[in-house]
Amino acid sequence: MGKTNIIIRDNEFLKIIVSKQYYEREAVFAAAKKFTDQSTIIIRPTPDEKQVEIVFQTEKENDVVMENIAKSFCNELLDQQTRLDLEKRFWKIRNLIVQHAFLPIENLTEETLSCK
């Protein structure tokens, strides 16, 4: 269930199946977005809705190597999920930094100072 599956066919078709348990929608989309210049990408749930399959399609004459895309995408997906996790932990502090930068300190309220 949690295992990532990679299927490559004739260097024209690549399907990567990942578990929703490990990867969120935002991470999958952000990772896939970075490959849109190299192939057409379809993202859809598997029939049991527990996994997501990311399908990459390209033309035969294209010099893209699907195996390389598969490797890069897996790392990118991992990085994007990590970024998402970091954002969940630190978005309030990030907002606070920007608020402090643009407001005189005396204008900051108790509410804006609370980042817990």
Binding site: A30, K34, D37, N75, R83, L86, E87, I97, H100, A101
Partner: protein, 475 residues
């Protein structure tokens, strides 16, 4: 504390909200994320001093980062400093790569009237910025000298009245320079920005006079006269990169040194105007440009190491963004975009655009970026929907792909180029040449910083701080 990261060869590069950075092994990065870093280690101390780790001192770390963030965004308080005036579209050159589709020397209907020139200056001085920079552009601005004079006189009058700092620049090919104009330029403390593409065979290949004759010898002659009259340091030059440049960058740098310029600005050609009509002759990939850039920079570093002080200005701007907490006035790399809020351009007819490329787009029939006209009020033009649309949609933090890019603190948005390429001002990063160029250049500069070779870093710092560190330097 919040951070962005990227795999960097076999390590991880992390950057903070205000541009602090650090290289970590994958193992140490994992420890940082899982809050298992050894508090007695040097890495932990480094990360704490750079505010990547806050411990129990969260508000101190937030305050320090906020202060640095505010410094990085200082350009926002200088709304709007740079006011570019296209005083004429006429030109005595017919450069093949010209962005502005210049007109024949006799087409005086493309001149800015002195009345419009004065209205432009009046509007410029309504900007909240304490520093006003007026740049006369063309075409060839010396062809409409009466507008240059009218605007300069008006600007001096308003400078005295408002107390704002005033800087005036004329961007000219120099070939029409004469004693009368030089006297006026000197009296009014005006700077000159000219164009030099390299030695004669390269310069003349794309920069030709309208009658097809060579421009190089005329340029040399006028450069000498202008420097003699105004002073050597009052004249700067810009180079435009063509496919010919890619193969000849070292002789071009040699020519700049021979002509005693202090440095060079390596910039890629924008695909607008005549340039897009001559794609086959002028086009090159960003990979090719960045290869040339690296080749040039290595050569320039070697020259500096051997005692010739020579600056690469684009690198200097990027290094200032990476290595210092300060903001730069470079309009092209700001978030939100500097288009309109840092620099604005007034066409000969008084129409106002956020950038020259937007003006070019208008000449091609698309007024998407037309902010207004000098006959409108300041708030109508600068508080209008065009500029609001640019600002709202050009903050990197909310732009797809940019938002999580490790180079975000140093980069900027180019909504006009995005619109030209995709018909959407947010654009598409995976296919964007702008994004590709900057990622490659940032990666290369961070490699240099990571190597931390003393002589190279001394040269970089000498460029940032504008001091001479070469072996021949006098104390």
């Amino acid at each position: 504390m919040p951070l962005r990261f990227s795999r960097f060869d076999h390590e991880i590069l992390i950057t903070g909200e205000a541009g602090d950075f650090y290289f970590l092994s994958i193992e140490d990065f994992d420890k940082l994320l899982s809050e298992k870093s050894d508090a007695s280690s040097q890495i932990y101390k480094d990360l704490k001093s750079l505010n990547f780790i806050a411990d129990d001192d969260l508000m101190t770390a937030v305050n320090m980062t906020s202060t640095r963030y505010r410094s990085k965004k200082a350009f926002l308080t200088n709304f709007t400093t740079l006011h570019m005036m296209v005083v004429t579209v006429r030109c005595n050159h017919k450069c093949k790569y010209c962005q502005v589709s210049c007109e024949d020397e006799n087409a005086k209907q493309y001149d800015m009237s002195p009345e419009i020139a004065k209205k432009v200056v009046d509007l410029a001085f309504k900007s909240p910025s304490k520093h006003i920079k007026i740049e006369f552009q063309g075409g060839e601005p010396l062809l409409n000298w009466i507008a240059v004079q009218a605007a300069t006189e008006r600007a001096n009058k308003l400078q005295k009245k408002t107390g704002k700092e005033l800087e005036i620049v004329i961007c000219t090919n120099l070939t029409l320079m004469n004693e009368e104009k030089l006297n006026f330029i000197k009296e009014n403390n005006i700077l000159i920005s000219t164009s030099l593409d390299g030695p004669q065979n390269i310069h003349d290949k794309f920069r030709v006079m309208r009658d097809g004759s060579s421009s190089y010898s005329k340029f040399l002659d006028k450069l000498s006269t202008t420097r003699t009259h105004l002073g050597h340091d009052r004249v700067g030059a810009l180079m435009t990169t063509t496919p010919l440049t890619l193969k000849n960058i070292r002789p071009i740098i040699d020519d700049y040194i021979k002509l005693e310029f202090d440095g060079i600005f390596l910039r890629s050609l924008n695909p607008y105007g005549f340039a897009s009509e001559l794609k086959n002759e002028l086009q090159y990939s960003m990979d090719e440009f960045v290869e040339m850039y690296k080749n040039a920079l290595e050569y320039i570093i070697t020259l500096n190491k051997n005692g010739t002080r020579f600056v690469e200005y684009y690198t200097t701007l990027l290094l200032k963004k990476i290595l210092t907490p300060f903001s730069t006035s470079f309009v092209d790399l700001q978030s939100p975009s500097g288009a309109g809020i840092s620099g604005v351009i007034y066409d000969y007819n008084g129409n106002i655009y956020p950038a020259d490329e937007a003006r070019m787009l208008s000449r091609m029939g698309d007024d998407f970026f037309l902010m207004g006209n000098v006959d409108e009020t300041y708030s109508e033009v600068f508080g209008g929907k065009v500029l609001k649309n640019i600002v709202v949609n050009s903050c990197l933090e909310i732009m797809p792909v940019c938002g999580d890019c490790v180079y975000l603190p140093y980069c900027g948005a180019d909504p006009i180029r995005n619109y030209l390429e995709t018909k959407d001002i947010i654009g598409d990063r995976p296919s964007s040449p702008f994004c590709k160029k900057h990622k490659l250049i940032f990666k290369y500069l961070f490699e240099k910083i990571k190597q931390n070779e003393k002589e190279t870093m001394d040269i970089f710092w000498s460029w940032i701080t504008n001091r001479n560190c070469s072996k021949n330097a006098q104390n």
